[in-house]
């Protein structure tokens, strides 16, 4: 009978909602099901700690992800980390370090912050400029034994006292309206020379005296090739300014004393690439620069008296070179490739070109990091032995953003070596893949997996499978009998902790452990073990870059074949853009082992056309592989792999495709039609104009393909059913725009956004809603028959969450099939919006194996929490006045605000910031959904929206209950016997 079950469920539901603390973890469960990893991002600025006592023990990093961090050198852990806004306001223009001062300059000088180097606490902060698009620069000077900080914003040169940030003087620089970047240096006479760059036009040179008086004469030199990113440098003699102009393949030199015009030095001696730039000055060579020609070629160039450059030395096959002044010697450190997995650090004394053996070091460096991009050596003299021999700590930054540390030590070559995989801060798409079943299980699968076989062969297979099972059991028994002996030998010759152990990569009982496959912006693909967070494998595809349009980067990651089809290996595919050709690039690999498909080795498969959109089919071909439909920029149809074309021809379903062009605001629907030649035609069906002139499309959200909907309707209080409108082709479009106000009291345009629900097959507009005086970013979750979206309400200045639920009504028009061409009557749309107390980074709905478990919405909050919010709280049917009927239905009475319970934060005190997205995946247990939150931090946990209804509790007393049961059985036998004896005795009386 359904009612009691329902009654019990409702009861449980109410309990779980009203005493939400049951969602919380116990103290001893912290870290049991979850892990968090913190990252820094791609290194932008780097300094070794120079604080007298801490020298060389820490490094300071400023990153592209707007993070300033201090990393411990001995193990690579983060000592402290400060995260700024992901927008331009948080951009770090420069990180300056000298002595014990550490200063970061943000967003063109909008913020200048001084940090305490050991603790990372903020000492002072100053706002100097509002021009966030310009770049600010700065450096330290010393005057009268006091430290000062010189900062150049787009319009002003400031001199700040280092101890408290107070202003010593400031100087207004000329042409502040056009100049975006100043290069400033201090001359030997303590005055300053400033070179301002007006992109595409000119450079302006002026000088500022040591007490902040700007010279009247600013000289302009035309430089149409220059822009804000051009690599420029002021030479060591403070008399020359040199830039590399990629357009003319030349170095442009400007004498600062007698300014006339840029003098050009054609670079013909060596090839130039995209990586070509001026890397820095070369100390000890007079006026010389270090110029990078390619990723593995560096050139030292010396300035001639004619203000041109001549090549001094070309370092071939060298990834990085630094000249370091150590113990009054100039030492050239070069990094070259020794063999496929090793780098060689060589040190030479510049004076006599002799090699310093003490510093030579071969560094293990796996091929999957790409070439090293930069190195940061730190030389010191060893105090332990009296010889004061030099030692070197080396930090490398590789092309995949990883940071490596190496230090030569006598005892063990690999001892002091760590790396940080900073690419994990740039995750773009995520998948969770089941681990394969064990060998024995696989054999059983194999038994039924193959197509047709005779009885005898099947019997033989069964015998073999069972025999192997028996053998496995015997082996484990023997192992257990021998004790831990086996284990010991293993731990001794364990080479690397990240080496995947074979037995580890096997599915567990409840299929809770998965491989998290992530594709990152630098083109690196990782396989992460979900239960430990350790990297199981990694692949670096040099050519792979993400799609990028309107500042959003995308990589398509799909699981073409799961682990369920045993003889066939699972297959994942990443779709991105080839860096070389700009065409689509496909990389297929085994998500469990990370092995790239043989024909894709290291380079991927160039599709030969630009990919406009791609989608994976739901049908499998004869090899259990799901094909990917690719649409190129000429609206031509392609399938990957090409053999999957047969799916489209044989499928019972009709196939449709829609493309949305954000530039024109048109949504166009196409039909994929197999023709008689065995090819697929693509035929335009309909067009939907979303009024580009008024609004722009910011997002399109379909339903997830893996989602199952268990319940087709919703039970109401009177026990009738409200059937859900479950259109699998429904997509939600979000458009944002601004509206001019007509009224006289207008304060400028007011933002608005709209949500369109469109049938992706027919183009039928199912529903449309506009929110006035509200703005994005709109985060949307589209699942089952509902859409939840968050936005910012301008009128009330607060975050809100809206919800739309679609119902067919009390009758289901077609209970067996859903066709967009014979749609049910227009759905009933229930809507409601709730106040949400905190702003939101990202949202996602939980998903479970069969969809029986109620849904929670995982919300990454800007306060750092990850909230697991029951969908029942975001129900448009919540009644204002509860009646017995609504109570029977189990709806919670309406309250305009969503309560934010701290127990519902699944990451308790492990705050995550700058979250880019949330990914959820079903586990083998129906009650459990796996959650992966990614951004600058990555966080993994599992949630149980309806609690663990399918597993006995951890504290379940098996012994006690088993004992009582056994006792009862024994007792009943005994009493039966006794009763029989007694009855016999009575009969004899």
């Amino acid at each position: 009978m359904a009612k009691p079950i329902k009654a019990v469920l409702v009861f449980l539901c109410m309990i779980s909602l009203h005493s939400v603390n049951t969602f919380g973890l116990y103290e001893d469960q912290a870290g049991l099901f979850d892990w968090k990893q913190e990252y820094v991002g791609q290194v932008k600025d780097f300094h070794w700690d120079q604080t007298p006592s801490q020298s060389g023990k820490k490094v300071f990093i400023a990153s592209e992800k707007n993070v300033v961090a201090s990393v411990n050198v001995h193990d690579g852990s983060i000592a402290w980390r400060r995260i700024f806004e992901p927008s331009t306001r948080g951009r770090i223009d420069a990180l300056l370090h000298q002595g014990s001062s550490l200063v970061s300059i943000h967003a063109g000088g909008q913020f200048v912050r001084s940090w305490s180097a050991p603790s990372g606490s903020l000492l002072w902060e100053k706002s100097l400029s509002d021009d966030v698009d310009s770049r600010a620069s700065g450096f330290f000077i010393e005057k009268n034994k006091k430290d000062y900080l010189i900062i150049a914003t787009s319009g002003t040169l400031y001199c700040l006292k280092m101890n408290d940030g107070s202003e010593e003087w400031k100087a207004e620089l000329p042409h502040s309206d056009t100049i975006e970047r100043w290069y400033v240096t201090e001359r030997s006479d303590n005055s300053f020379i400033a070179i301002g760059i007006t992109p595409g036009q000119r450079v302006t040179i002026t000088s500022v005296s040591s007490d902040g008086v700007v010279s009247k004469t600013a000289k302009n030199v035309p430089a149409p090739w220059i822009d804000i990113q051009t690599s420029c440098i002021i030479m060591e003699d403070d008399k020359h300014f040199v830039c590399y102009s990629p357009q003319t393949h030349s170095l442009q030199t400007l004498g600062l004393d007698n300014v006339t015009v840029f003098k050009q030095t054609e670079l013909l001696e060596f090839p130039l690439t995209k990586e070509s730039k001026i890397e820095g000055l070369v100390p000890g060579l007079g006026s010389a620069i270090k110029f990078r020609s390619a990723s593995d070629r560096l050139v030292f160039m010396v300035l001639t008296p004619q203000e041109t450059f001549t090549v001094h030395k070309v370092l071939e096959k060298t990834y990085s070179a630094e000249i370091v002044n150590f113990a009054e010697k100039y030492i050239l450190l070069t990094l070259t490739q020794a063999d496929a997995e090793t780098l060689q650090l060589t040190a030479r004394d510049q004076s006599d070109n002799s090699e310093i053996i003490d510093l030579a070091h071969s560094i293990p460096f796996a091929h999957y990091h790409g070439p090293p991009v930069k190195m940061f050596p730190f030389l010191f003299s060893k105090k332990k032995d009296s010889s004061h021999r030099p030692g070197c700590k080396l930090i490398l930054v590789a092309q995949d953003f990883s940071i490596h540390f190496a230090q030569k030590s006598k005892s063990d070559e690999n001892k002091s070596h760590w790396r940080r995989e900073e690419a994990l801060a740039y995750i773009l798409s995520v998948l969770m893949v089941d681990l394969p079943v064990s060998e024995n299980q696989a054999k059983f699968e194999d038994e039924f997996g193959t197509k047709e076989e005779d009885l005898l062969a099947m019997f033989y297979k069964r015998l073999k499978a069972q025999f192997s099972q028996l053998r496995g059991f015997a082996i484990t028994l023997v192992d257990r009998a021998l004790g831990h002996h086996h284990h010991h030998t293993k731990s001794i010759d364990a080479i690397e902790e990240e080496e995947p152990e074979e037995e580890d990569l096997i599915r567990d009982g409840f299929n809770l452990h998965k491989i998290i496959v992530v594709a990152t912006a630098p083109g690196k693909i990782y396989g992460i073990r979900s239960h430990t967070g350790k990297i199981a494998w990694q692949q670096f595809i040099l050519d792979l870059v993400p799609f990028s349009r309107y500042d959003t980067q995308k990589l398509h990651l799909v699981l073409q074949r799961s682990t369920a089809h045993f003889p066939h290996e699972p297959q994942c595919t990443v779709l991105g853009v080839s860096q070389k050709t700009g065409n689509g690039l496909l990389v297929s690999f085994n998500p469990v082992t990370g092995a790239i498909l043989p024909r894709h080795q290291s380079q991927g498969h160039d599709t030969g056309f630009k990919v406009l959109q791609a989608e994976m089919l739901v049908d499998m071909d004869s090899d259990f592989l799901k094909g990917i439909v690719l649409i190129d920029d000429k609206i031509k149809f392609h399938v990957y792999p090409p053999t999957s074309k047969s799916i489209l021809q044989e499928s019972r379903m009709q196939h449709f495709f829609h493309l949305i062009n954000p530039d024109t605001g048109f949504m166009t629907g196409y039909r994929l039609l197999p023709n008689t030649d065995g090819e697929i035609d693509i035929e335009e069906l309909w067009n939907l104009d979303l009024q580009k002139s008024q609004q722009t499309i910011t997002g399109v959200y379909g339903k997830r393909a893996i989602e199952h909907v268990h319940s087709q309707g919703r039970v109401l209080g009177d026990r009738s059913v409200l059937y859900k409108y479950l259109n699998p082709n429904l997509v939600a479009l979000v458009t944002e725009g601004e509206e001019q106000q007509q009224s006289s009291v207008s304060k400028g345009p007011t933002p608005f956004f709209s949500i369109y629900l469109v049938d992706g097959v027919t183009g039928h507009l199912v529903y449309h809603q506009t929110h006035k005086r509200s703005k994005g970013p709109v985060k949307v979750v589209h699942s089952e028959n509902w859409i939840v979206y968050s936005y910012f309400n301008e009128k009330h200045r607060r975050s809100e969450i809206g919800v739309l639920e679609l119902y067919e009504g009390k009758e289901q028009s077609n209970s067996t099939a859903f066709s967009s061409f014979y749609p049910p009557p227009p759905p009933l749309v229930l809507r409601q919006s709730y106040i949400f107390p905190v702003p939101i980074y990202a949202m996602e709905a939980t998903v479970t194996e069969k969809g029986i478990t109620s849904k929670n919405i995982i919300i990454a909050l800007k306060t750092g929490g990850v909230l697991s919010l029951p969908k029942a709280l975001l129900d448009p049917r919540r009644p204002v006045i509860p009646t017995p009927e609504t109570m029977e239905e189990g709806t919670i009475p309406y309250v305009p605000e969503i309560p934010l319970s701290t127990e519902a934060l699944v990451n308790y005190n492990r705050s995550v910031f700058n979250v880019d997205g949330v990914f959820t995946s079903p586990a083998g247990l129906e009650s459990t959904s796996l959650v992966f939150v990614y951004g600058i931090d990555i966080f993994y946990t599992r949630v149980t929206p309806s609690r663990m209804f399918d597993v006995l509790k951890e504290d379940f007393d098996y012994l006690f209950i088993g004992g009582v049961l056994a006792l009862m059985i024994i007792l009943s036998f005994i009493t039966q016997k006794l009763a029989a004896i007694k009855a016999l005795k009575r009969a004899w009386k």
Binding site: A2, Q613, A614, E615, L617, F657, V700, N729, S820
Partner: protein, 173 residues
């Protein structure tokens, strides 16, 4: 009146031998006149049964009407139990189901004791009574909402709709 002769009799007169107060003495055959009011019939009990068919019918009616008599009692229990779903009302509903079903199962034995010319009718009444009790139990279930009579009770078995079209796409990558 039967002509049977008694085989023995207890003599309440003390015997001359003094061996026992009471002794069995053979009666002299038909030399004693019957005492006043004596009726020579040892099977007097059989007589009213055969003689009073009304009584048999009455007793049969008692049996036949038994289940119907329970109806008011059941109604009271039903009212007392209320319609909440908890252990006692469920037990009571269970009993209400259990008793008529038990009675129906044991109907052969019960029917043996129903005799008389109204037996067929009485059996019918007995059946009706039990069915009435059962109906009341079902009604009670109905009022408690335990019967799967609504579409919502079968919702869990509704299969998901089959997808007829596949559609994909999105914003330009």
């Amino acid at each position: 009146m039967s002509k049977r002769r008694h085989k023995w009799a207890i003599e309440f007169v003390p015997s001359s031998r003094g061996r026992s107060e009471r002794a069995l003495v053979p009666l002299p055959p038909e030399n004693l006149p019957a005492p006043i009011g004596f009726m020579d019939s040892s099977v007097a009990t059989e007589k009213p049964k055969e003689a009073d068919p009304g009584l048999i019918i009455k007793r049969s009616w008692d049996i036949a009407l038994g289940p119907i008599k329970q109806v008011p009692m059941n109604m009271f229990i039903m009212w007392m139990a209320g319609s909440s779903i908890s252990i006692f009302p469920i037990m009571m509903v269970g009993m209400m189901f259990f008793r008529p079903i038990q009675a129906m199962l044991a109907i052969q034995n019960t029917f043996k004791s129903i005799e008389g010319d109204q037996a067929a009718f009485q059996k019918l009444v007995y059946c009706i009574g039990n069915i009435l009790c059962l109906a009341m139990a079902v009604y009670k279930c109905q009022t408690m909402g335990l019967l799967p009579t609504h579409a919502s009770d079968w919702l869990a078995f509704v299969q998901p709709q089959e997808r007829m079209e596949w559609s994909g796409g999105g914003l330009y990558l």
